[in-house]
Structure formats: C-alpha cells, structure tokens
C-alpha cells in the first residue's frame, strides 16, 4: 500500500484533522501514522489505536501492511 493511499484513507476517516504517514523502511509495508482528532475524545489509548487499525484491517490481515505504529492525540 502506498503512503498516498494510506493518507487518503486516513483523511477520509478523519476529515480536516492532522494526519501524517511515514513509511519506516521504504518498502511500503512498515508504517507509522500520526492522527490528531477530536474523534478520540473519551477513548482509551487502545480504543484509539483500534479505530485507526480498523481502517486497514484487510491489509493487516493479508500482510500487505506488515507493521503499523500509531501515535494519536486529541
């Protein structure tokens, strides 16, 4: 999955929020993403991460995305 595609998906879920995507290895399968959104209000750390991971559940299942580090902020 390309960084652009990943960013597009995140922006669709988190419209006009701050979203960053970093390809950690250049291999397009180890990513770190940062999302700052009011949607995380009242969610525990794990719930926030699950909310982001769900967007890529298919790619994580197939291994197209092997690793996804997540940093969130409200």
């Amino acid at each position: 999955m390309s960084p652009q595609e990943m960013k597009k998906r995140l922006e669709a879920q988190f419209p006009n929020d701050k979203v960053d995507v970093m390809d950690l290895t250049g291999g397009q399968d180890h990513y770190e993403v940062y999302v700052k959104s009011a949607q995380f209000e009242g969610l525990s750390r794990i719930e926030r991460h699950q909310k982001v991971m769900e967007i890529f559940s298919e790619e994580l299942k197939t291994g197209e995305v092997h690793a996804l580090s997540i940093r969130t902020e409200i």
Binding site: R45, I46, M53, K61, A67, I70
Partner: protein, 101 residues
Amino acid sequence: MNEDLKKKIEDIIAQDKVVLFMKGTPQFPQCGFSARAVAILNELGASFASFNVFDDENVRQGIKEFSNWPTIPQLYIDKKLIGGSDIMLEMYETGEFKELL
C-alpha cells in the same frame, strides 16, 4: 471462532497476571516489535508468561479476532488487552505501565 480455540486462548491469558503473545520467545524474539515488548517488560522487572504464536497458527490468527487487534505482539494484564508494542512504549514513557504491574 470455535469454542475450543476460544477456550485455549482464554486459558493462555489466564495463566499469569501478565501474558505476552509474541513472535518467538523472550530469549529469542523473532520480530522487532516483539523484541521491543520483551525489552520493556524486562526493563520494568516484570515477571510474565509468554506464548510463541509461531507454535500454533490457530492461536496466531485467533488472538487477532479474539481481541479485535490485528497485529502481534499483544500484551494482556489481568486478562485485559493492553495493546501492542507502541502502546506499551507510550505507557512505559509516561510511567503508566508501572501502575499496572
């Protein structure tokens, strides 16, 4: 997920206060994120049980469905999913982790 697999996962989680589902073993982690998870637990001097998901493909896939968390490692404390290695790192840095142990 069938009942036996669910029961097996529950038994693994129940075997200790702190249980880490990981790739490889604490002595020989076979993935960077699993290695980081082990390092954090060792740094905190936490005693923990671990399960090598490479030993059982059913558990390796089942745990992801069980916890609605698609990656390994997964850390459980008092049978509750805490998270993967990023959450462990974040909580280690904020000092929250110590309170859970």
